[in-house]
């Protein structure tokens, strides 16, 4: 019950004559059962395109992707094999939630009684008869998740499931993903929010500009990419910097005027403090700054972001 991609590539043709855009660039990955695999990357990195290829909606330019060892389209009853939450809006606004699930069930020979079960499961049973055009974004997401679970599938694919959900809804999705994985299912969840993935996923697949940047467990990702440093402020920064370098530290001077600071790696905060004390120096600040998972993600994907915000802006919001 795995999803397996091999040299999967998708190139979109550009406007006449131009080169076009490679959305997914020869990626290999395997999504295994019994755990939540987070598919993480900035907007435009190729997540949705990859998921559409898994579901046979987009045809790969080259390479292959299989589910349980066969092409999606060869499944005898696809909804009973893979349930998918597609991008929000794959619904007709004039149809009720129950009717939407009814046609889906009919298309795959899923018993009618299952419709009521999944409506209850996602908490939409009270509004099942309402037209989905009146639903909030969050209710639409819940309906999409109900559709994904309709066929009780061993593989569940969720594209940006927490989009538009309130905090209670986000917690619910997190719990649901966990439970599905604990039942032995293959759970493949995409998000552009690192913090969300850190809470939900067991395993990470990081994608940027159509390439896989990391394929590892969450703790391994942290250890490798979430670097920390010691921030030091002092009256004479340059002298202190040279002193610390002599102790074997890597020192970078950042900022100017009253905001000037040293960023020290290679020495712990106590070691920096002791070194300064031995030399009789005054320190104004000595802080261990641990990079968040978000920072690690930003560092890793910095070169792989399709659309950069201005760096000044980024600094201002820190």
């Amino acid at each position: 019950m795995t999803i397996r991609a091999h040299a999967l590539t998708k190139r979109f043709p550009g406007p006449r004559g131009s080169e076009g855009r490679t959305a997914v660039d020869g990626i290999d990955f395997t999504v295994l059962p019994g755990r939540v695999t987070g598919f993480l990357g900035p907007n435009g990195a190729g997540k949705s395109t990859t998921m559409r290829m898994v579901l046979g909606l987009d045809a790969p330019t080259s390479g292959t992707v299989s589910v349980n060892g066969h092409r999606y389209a060869d499944s005898p009853a696809p909804l009973r094999e893979i349930g998918a939450l597609l991008e929000a809006g794959a619904l007709h606004p004039g149809r009720s939630a129950r009717d939407h699930l009814r046609w889906l069930a009919a298309s795959n020979g899923i018993p009618h009684t299952r419709v009521g079960e999944v409506l209850e499961l996602v908490g939409l049973d009270a509004v099942a008869g309402q037209r989905v055009g009146r639903f909030s974004l969050g209710m639409g997401q819940r309906l999409g998740i109900a559709a994904a679970l309709l066929g009780d599938p061993p593989v569940v694919v969720l594209d940006e499931p927490v989009n538009g959900l309130d905090p209670e809804g986000i917690r619910w999705v997190r719990g649901l993903a966990r439970r599905l994985a604990d039942e032995g299912r293959t759970v493949f969840v995409s998000s552009h929010l690192m913090s969300e993935m850190a809470l939900m996923a067991d395993h990470l697949l990081v994608i940027g500009r159509g390439r896989i940047l990391a394929d590892c467990s969450v703790p391994a990702f942290m250890a490798e990419h979430a670097a920390s440093y010691v921030r030091v402020k002092a009256p004479s920064l340059d002298d202190l910097g040279r002193l610390l370098q002599r102790q074997g530290a890597d020192v970078v001077r950042e900022g100017s005027g009253s905001a000037a600071e040293l960023r020290v790696t290679g020495l712990s905060a106590p070691e920096v403090g002791e070194a300064a004390a031995r030399d009789g120096r005054v320190l104004h600040e000595l802080t261990l700054v641990s990079a968040s998972l978000e920072d690690a993600f930003m560092t890793l994907t910095a070169d792989a972001v399709e659309y950069h915000a201005q760096t000044e802006l980024e600094g201002a919001t820190r």
């Binding site: 579901l55 009717d99 298309s107 795959n108």
Partner: protein, 273 residues
């Protein structure tokens, strides 16, 4: 989850041992979709109102004149008159069944549920064609019953046989073809307004404008335009003597519809959803 995961039986090639769902399931799903949006009811109501209502009205207004010696037209031209306009509703229905899915993005849910796109297209085609065949024939029959009541009062009623019967069944066949043609165009164009405009333009505008092309070329273009070729079967007496006769015309129309369906299939089969 309410149910725990049952151990999957799989074949050696990895395809799980589930009962394969096919055309019947896809047709059932499309039938649920069609019944559960309001536009279907509105469009069919407008269809019956135009197709039967206008025929009755026009027969009621003209019965006396038709029975008089001044009439230069046959009552047969009037008995399916509303079916000249009802195809507009068939165009709307045929378009909505397909293009509303593209407009809302629901087509991705559809192709994910039934990945064999030909099956989806065939299910929609069978549904639109079958529904319009029944509704079209019944509507033409209602128009005949209502209209003929007024004609009978003037002593010029027509029996339900021969060309009259053919025109009533033919009305159903023609609007079924129009619905199928529009659905196929919808799969290629993917926009509701674009699809409806394009089909109506070909049926109503271009079909008449080709008469302006001089010579034999113009004559044949006029005969072969889908609205002109297919429409003749829906009237007991020909409106335009230059056109093909009812069944030959319908044969040409059917081939044209089939060609557009083939184009739609080859387009949708390889296109990203």
């Amino acid at each position: 989850m309410t149910a725990t995961l049952a151990p999957e039986q799989t074949h050696a090639d990895g395809v799980p041992d589930l009962p394969r769902v096919g055309f019947g399931a896809a047709l059932h799903a499309e039938w649920i979709k069609l019944r559960t949006v309001r536009s279907t009811g509105w469009t069919l109501a407008a269809f019956v109102l135009l197709g039967a209502g206008l025929t009755v009205l026009i027969c009621a207004l003209n019965a006396e004149w038709l029975a008089s010696g001044d009439a230069d037209e046959s009552p047969g031209s009037f008995i399916t008159w509303g079916m000249l306009l009802a195809p507009v509703c068939a165009v709307v229905l045929g378009a909505l069944v397909v293009t509303s899915e593209y407009a809302t993005g629901m087509v991705r849910s559809t192709f994910a549920a039934v990945p064999r796109r030909g099956t989806v297209m065939a299910a929609k085609a069978v549904l639109v064609t079958g529904l319009l065949l029944v509704v079209g024939t019944v509507t033409a029959l209602l128009g005949y019953l209502g209209g003929n009541w007024f004609l009978d009062r003037e002593g010029i009623g027509m029996a339900l046989e021969g060309d009259v019967l053919r025109a009533i069944v033919g009305s159903g066949l023609y609007v079924a073809g129009i619905g199928l043609l529009t659905a196929a165009v919808g799969f290629v164009v993917r926009h509701t307004a674009g699809t409806i405009s394009l089909v109506l333009a070909v049926l109503l505008v271009v079909g008449n404008m080709v008469m302006l092309v001089p010579g034999t070329v113009g004559e044949w273009l006029e005969k072969l335009m889908p609205g002109n070729a297919g429409g003749a079967i829906a009237s007991p007496v020909p409106f335009n003597p230059n056109l093909l006769d009812a069944w030959n015309g319908f044969g040409v129309f059917a081939l044209e519809v089939a060609a557009v369906c083939l184009l739609a299939w080859t387009t949708v089969r390889r296109r990203d959803a």
